[in-house]
């Protein structure tokens, strides 16, 4: 296998899959960032992703329309987000545990639905790669090196990267973003200035969960075009860690997502190229990297001051 591939092809391959694989991390990570900025730690991302992945897949499997798949995935994300919000905002449950409950619920239910509604692993025609045809015989894809790396992705991948500046804009330039940050930094002060902390937190958690559902769908109807039980394999938890790693900033999350997806791509290519690393050890790398990333000392000051702290009016 090795001799068939030139070095350039390998580098293109790694960078291309690095960008591709960043898609679910970006949707889930940016979504989680909104929740955490508002003061709610949603650890159920992985479960939401699994539900989004299944329902997105199933919708495409039944209708053949990828956009219905996206809608289904985001709808179930909203539903799961609402559940999380009721439990952790209204009922003020310990967020570290309620998220694990949501994860188990999503893991179990997505597997159950898969087994009863599909039964076997099947494929669908998901989102296709855009080649940016400019004229009849020239597309951006034809540009050497750059083309195959950057101009051979699906709409969902480009959408994920566009989400980064968009979320930075929302967070830093709009009133809504200011309210989110206030709810997570100092809910009492926000409340005294007329911000409805509960509403803002609900909205942020639900928005984040909708994006987590989309992240799951990006796996099942764009990157892989199949659904398998527990296909996220802890990706949702890594996405939560990315928010810490990225210091609760959109571009930080982007940097983290690219780092992780590149490591993932390297690990996949190491297997393709038959490098002398046991695959079991290579698969371990992203998880090890997550722990190292979390231990980085530079990020801690940026943590929203009221993260995981419930808010009750007039109590503090």
């Amino acid at each position: 296998m090795t001799q068939d591939l030139t070095l350039a092809a390998i580098i293109i391959g790694i960078l291309h899959s690095g960008i591709r694989l960043a898609t679910p991390y970006l949707y889930a990570g940016i979504g989680e960032m909104f929740g955490q900025r508002a003061g709610v730690l949603n650890l159920g991302v992985d479960g939401i992703m699994l539900m989004g992945a299944f329902l997105g897949f199933y919708a495409v499997y039944q209708t053949g329309n990828v956009w219905i798949g996206v809608a289904a995935a985001m709808a179930v994300g909203i539903f799961m987000g609402l559940l999380m919000a009721v439990v952790s905002i209204t009922f003020q449950a310990e967020q570290g545990i309620s998220g694990i409950g949501l994860y188990m619920f999503g893991l179990g239910l997505s597997s159950l639905l898969f087994k009863t509604m599909l039964g076997t692993v099947e494929g669908v025609q998901g989102f296709s790669e855009l080649k940016f045809q400019i004229t009849q015989n020239f597309s951006l894809y034809d540009i050497p090196l750059i083309g195959p790396i950057f101009f051979n992705h699906s709409v969902l991948t480009y959408g994920a990267f566009l989400l980064v500046p968009l979320s930075a804009f929302i967070l830093n330039k709009t009133t809504w973003g200011l309210k989110i940050k206030a709810a997570g930094q100092n809910p009492e002060a926000a409340d005294s200035l007329g911000v409805n902390v509960t509403t803002v937190r609900y909205a942020a958690v639900i928005l984040g969960s909708a994006l987590a559902g989309l992240a799951g769908a990006s796996l099942s109807i764009s990157l892989l075009n199949i659904f398998q039980e527990n296909m996220t394999n802890g990706m949702g938890f890594i996405a939560v860690a990315l928010v810490y790693f990225g210091s609760w900033r959109p571009y930080g999350v982007l940097a983290g997502a690219l780092l992780f997806s590149t490591v993932n791509a390297l690990q996949l290519w190491a297997q393709v190229l038959n490098l002398p690393i046991p695959s079991d050890v290579a698969v371990m790398l992203p998880y090890l990297l997550t722990i190292i990333a979390l231990a980085m000392p530079f990020r801690r000051a940026a943590q929203p001051a009221a993260l995981t702290r419930p808010f009750t009016r007039g109590e503090n």
């Binding site: 449950a93 179990g108 394999n233 938890f237 079991d280 231990a295």
Partner: protein, 410 residues
């Protein structure tokens, strides 16, 4: 006064006891809804589940077998919770413990005399699990690393290490020879098997079967669990013993007191001169040690060799969280709670076989139970606040009455 005393009893004890049951009931109702959507009669399904878990000798034995690791894991999780840290890493700690025990057992097992060998290996499993728990504990204390995330990552790492070892250095030589290469280890020598209930019963002189004694009905099944050959091993009694020890440790020793003090209020504990960081590491280490112990018991009592990591851990790390929460994070509450959830796991398996309902339904129900149990804390707090303020009101009313009457008489 009687009403007040009842109120206090109701809000402080009865409610604490009842709310988790209500949470489970609601989760089962949602599960019934899911079943109904699948076109299955929920009542029949739950009946199959209940009788599968508790209705017969073998079901009951399996329930107790599964409750054993749940109890040990749950104890560890309760220790972590009481110490103010959250341990989601029991899966990984259980796996590393089981791997270490298997390695030692296969390598040195022949030279170890039975009981001493078993005890040594139990200690080794606890040591390894404790080490696996100490890492996230230390990272939390020294570098502020969120322990929930780091323990989840440690789970994934442990699973991969397990696969690597079982496909490579630790693989059963028989598998290599046969060329099937299924990732499991060689069998531990028989002298390291934990005794089964039936062996103990035989040694105590109970040799007759239920049939021979003319026992009938449920009594016969209960007798069968204790005496007739089942998979039930003394690890179950060991787990109960551990629960009592953890109770004594947490509520009757200074170290246990310090751990709980840190968990109740970190700042107050620091002010009182307790080393918060050291106690955080300690509670994570102990928490991991109990999960490692669960791994050791699974190997020595049940599997006798290491299988694929995820089928040995079998989700006990997560189900153990549910058992610990349902047991009120109290060591003695975790005993019945583990049996209940062991039954849920066995029942789910029986339900799958009887009615073709995938067992993963149980995972979904367990998730809902977690969500509902942690939500009930809110009602508990609310109702307790109301109780306190009502009592205060009646107290003040009485006082005003008295002052008024004093003023009137004057």
């Amino acid at each position: 006064m009687a009403k007040q005393r009842f109120n206090r009893f109701f809000y402080d004890h009865l409610l604490n006891f009842l709310l988790p049951f209500i949470a489970v009931l609601v989760a089962l109702l949602v599960g019934a809804l899911i079943l109904w959507f699948q076109g299955v009669d929920p009542w029949e399904a739950y009946k199959a589940m209940f009788f599968g878990a508790f209705g017969s000798k073998n079901g009951l034995a399996d329930t107790l077998v599964k409750s054993t690791p749940l109890m040990l894991v749950g104890l560890g999780i309760a220790i972590a919770f009481r110490g103010g840290v959250i341990n989601i890493g029991a899966e990984g700690q259980l796996i590393t413990g089981a791997l270490f025990v298997t390695f030692l057992g296969v390598t040195f097992g022949q030279k170890l005399p039975g009981v001493v060998g078993v005890l040594l290996l139990l200690a080794a499993g606890a040591l390894m699990g404790g080490f696996w728990g100490a890492i996230p504990g230390w990272l939390k204390a020294q570098l502020g690393v969120n322990e929930i995330l780091s323990t989840i990552m440690m789970n994934a790492i442990a699973i991969q290490i397990g696969y690597y070892l079982l496909r490579g250095p630790m693989i059963d030589p028989a598998e290599l020879a046969a060329g099937t290469n299924i990732p499991h280890s060689a069998r531990l020598p028989k002298n390291l098997d934990m005794a089964r209930f039936t062996h103990v019963a035989k040694a105590l002189g109970f040799t007759e079967r239920a049939k021979d004694l003319g026992l009938e009905g449920y009594i016969a099944q209960l007798y069968g669990v204790l005496v007739e050959p089942t998979r039930l091993h003394i690890g179950f009694l060991f787990a109960i013993l551990m629960a009592i020890l953890v109770y004594v440790f947490l509520w009757r020793t200074t170290i246990g007191y310090k751990i709980r003090a840190v968990g109740l209020n970190r700042h107050a504990a620091r002010y009182a001169g307790i080393n918060v960081k050291r106690n955080m590491v300690l509670s994570m280490t102990l928490s991991g040690a109990f999960a490692g112990l669960a791994g050791a018991v699974e190997i020595l009592g049940l599997h006798h060799r290491m299988f694929e990591p995820t089928s040995v851990s079998a989700g006990y790390g997560f189900t153990g969280i549910v058992a610990a929460l349902f047991g009120g994070l109290h060591p003695l509450g975790i005993i019945p709670s583990s049996i209940l959830f062991g039954g849920l796991l066995v029942g789910g398996d029986k339900m799958q076989r009887a009615m073709q309902i995938p067992q993963v339904l149980i995972t979904a129900i367990l998730g809902l139970i977690v969500l509902f149990v942690v939500s009930t804390d809110f009602f508990k707090r609310k109702l307790q606040t109301r109780r306190v303020s009502e009592e205060a009101e009646t107290f003040f009313e009485k006082e005003t009455d008295e002052t008024e009457s004093v003023e009137a008489s004057a």
